[in-house]
């Protein structure tokens, strides 16, 4: 494996095709432009102490806040194994001690909705449904309120370009977590196809990398830190090219 990577890193040859030929064949393709990003969290000034306030706030907060509590959390201090995969679900459990609601909110998958407004509607639906089931409004403790946040994202070009997927292989581990966030997480919200940038780019190679793209699309990014996601992406690339090389 190590030797294989060393060989790959020299960009000389991959069994079955040379890099030079591959690049020549694919010159028409747009190079993959590696971007990076940094996020800064901003308070919206809206908070909720009980489920009714939470439902009302969900309808009012900027859409950026919905985005932040699903995705931006990945760039915040996060322990390895979050029990729930968005901030709303975590609060339902930790703040309100409402496990059924936490489970329901956890299964709201953002990529199932065409935009953030539709996602917001679904969240409101789930919360209001739960409110209907209650005989009383559940409250959190005063120091466990939900604070709605939003974020500013600064995107910058690293000026690193890859013409071919094999070139990406030795470099993935040195991509910053910001690059991983931008291309693998943010892209699922940013692009019409709702897929990561790597998979979108691979589609341009006429089917040659479909299997690789499918493996990347199949990654569930909700339960991993960005460091772990980088490792997962790296492993997928390595496995694919190792198999190609056999």
């Amino acid at each position: 494996m190590v030797l294989f990577l060393q060989v790959m890193q020299t960009f000389n040859i991959i069994e079955g095709f040379t890099m030079q030929n591959a690049v020549a064949d694919e010159q028409k393709k747009t190079p993959f432009a590696v971007k990076d990003c940094a996020i800064i969290t901003i308070a919206t000034g809206t908070k909720a102490e009980n489920l009714k306030e939470f439902a009302a706030a969900l309808k009012e907060v900027p859409l950026g806040s919905i985005y932040h509590h699903f995705w931006g959390r990945l760039l915040r201090p996060l322990f390895d194994e979050p029990e729930y995969n968005n901030d709303f679900a975590s609060w339902a459990f930790r703040g309100l001690h409402d496990k059924p609601l936490a489970e329901q909110l956890s299964m709201v998958i953002p990529t199932d909705y065409k935009d953030l407004e539709c996602l917001r509607q679904e969240l409101v639906e789930v919360v209001e449904q739960r409110l209907d089931e209650y005989e009383f409004v559940p409250w959190s403790k005063a120091d466990q309120q939900f604070y709605f946040l939003k974020s500013q994202i600064v995107v910058f070009d690293t000026r690193v370009r890859f013409d071919h997927p094999a070139e990406l292989l030795p470099q993935i581990n040195s991509l910053s977590t910001g690059s991983i966030y931008y291309h693998f997480i943010d892209a699922r919200n940013r692009t019409e196809e709702r897929v990561d940038d790597f998979s979108s780019w691979l589609e341009g190679f006429g089917g040659q990398f479909n299997e690789l793209a499918q493996s990347l699309c199949a990654v569930d990014p909700y339960f991993s830190s960005l460091n772990e996601i980088r490792l997962i992406v790296s492993n997928i690339f390595h496995e694919f090219f190792e198999k190609e090389g056999e």
Binding site: A38, I39, I40, I42, P77, I153, V154, V155, F156
Partner: protein, 422 residues
């Protein structure tokens, strides 16, 4: 503040690269690109003692290494000024405080005088970061200001004493932005409120790796028993840090588990209450075996480093806490932390994973006994704690957020900003 030479800045960046990674440093360099040459001025009220001064000592050269013209000034005041600002501090943390008009007038006068002294720098700076309430009125004494002004509140202001907040609000609201350490600390203000957690510097004397001999030296220096486990709380002698609760917890735990307690703290030049609290602590520990109350000078960073490394468990049993840098310090040394379930400690101590959150001296005693009994858990939590701090609470992350804020603030109220050709 004197700017270090470019060689020493490069050497410093090489050291950070070694502790973090090339990727982390490369990202900072790229993010700083549009800010090169910007004049950034930080202002607080003390050069020594307390977390703010510690952070600024390293944040300024790091910004300079990124090509930013960063500078740091302190305001100076008389005894009445610090008396007044200590009451602000306590009031922001929720304690009812009476402040006379005379103290407030003196506070404003001192700020006006400092404003006059610093006027040239305040006017020409592209970004001015004002730390905590002490220098907050400087903005209004700088009518010719040109840059963006940001008020950085390091205090747990989640439930401020209303009268004090109402007074400070007039000085703080005209700022272009404010920064709080946690979302729950943010207060209604007519400008963006950024959330940035503080950080520790892995290369500082307080956090760098130490030779084993130097760690062992603290046993003879402070008459510690090498055979007994050590639990340590490092913090100012301040009631919100609950040193008396720590002593109570120690007394309860030590009935069943032999151990020793180190309470190590220093004073800060802007904290007039420290001596009174230290006396209360000495009184409470009087006669108790194995309680070591240490008053350390402000520059005893290596000693604190060695004490934390010699400890089995770090305590930070605060009842209110802006952030609690000593928590990250302890965790960075691979120690589990038993912390008060409050403020920024919650961000660092992940209950049952990197330590325990407690609400009472009984809770602290129980978790101390548990960890000393389950050495495997103690070590596992310590390993996780170190990794968690490495990923989230080092100064490189802090710098990244400051740079992002500066880029964000100059771009207006937009969610997505592209710099360069992005």
């Amino acid at each position: 503040m004197k700017k270090p030479s470019s060689n020493s800045l490069q050497d410093m960046m090489a050291e950070y690269r070694a502790v973090t990674s090339s990727t982390v440093i490369h990202q900072l360099e790229q993010l700083a690109e549009p800010l090169k040459g910007a004049k950034v001025l930080h202002i607080n009220s003390t050069k020594q003692g307390g977390g703010v001064a510690e952070i600024l000592h390293k944040l300024i050269p790091l910004k300079q290494a990124m090509g930013i013209e960063a500078d740091w000034e302190i305001i100076t005041g008389n005894q009445e000024f610090y008396e007044c600002t200590k009451r602000f501090h306590n009031g922001l943390q929720g304690m009812q405080q009476a402040i006379t008009d005379k103290l407030l007038q003196n506070y404003e006068k001192i700020n006006r005088e400092n404003g006059e002294k610093l006027q040239a720098k305040l006017q020409e700076a592209d970004f001015v970061f004002i730390h905590d309430p002490q220098p907050a009125p400087l903005l209004q004494f700088t009518p010719e200001r040109q840059g963006k002004w940001i008020w950085r509140c390091h205090i747990d202001a989640s439930k401020p004493y209303r009268k004090i907040w109402k007074y400070l609000h007039q000085w703080v609201s005209p700022y272009d932005a404010s920064i709080f350490s946690l979302p729950e600390f943010a207060q209604p203000l007519p400008h963006p409120q950024y959330i940035i957690a503080p950080s520790i510097d892995p290369l500082s004397e307080k956090n760098c790796p130490l030779p084993e001999d130097e760690i062992k030296e603290v046993f003879s220096q402070f008459n510690l028993d090498p055979e007994l486990p050590i639990i340590t709380q490092v913090s100012r002698y301040d009631r919100f840090k609950d040193p008396l609760g720590v002593i109570e917890a120690f007394k309860m735990a030590s009935k069943l588990t032999p151990l020793q307690l180190v309470l190590a703290g220093g004073g800060a030049s802007d904290d007039p209450e420290g001596e009174a609290v230290l006396n209360e602590v000495k009184q409470a520990s009087n006669g108790a075996a194995n309680i070591h109350v240490l008053l350390l000078p402000a520059d005893a960073n290596r000693t604190i480093n060695a004490l934390q490394r010699a400890s089995d468990i770090i305590l930070q049993k605060s009842i209110r806490e802006g952030f609690g840098l000593t928590v990250s310090e302890g965790m960075w040394k691979g120690k589990p932390v038993i912390g008060g379930d409050t403020g920024g400690i919650r961000l660092q101590v992940i209950n049952h994973y990197t330590g325990f959150l407690v609400r009472t001296p009984e809770g602290a005693a129980l978790r101390t006994r548990y960890l000393l009994h389950r050495r495997d858990k103690l070590e596992e939590m310590g390993r996780r704690a170190k990794r968690f701090v490495g990923e989230n609470f080092l100064i490189t992350r802090h710098l990244r957020e400051y740079l992002t804020l500066m880029v964000g603030l100059t771009s207006g109220d937009v969610e997505r900003i592209s710099v360069g050709n992005a």
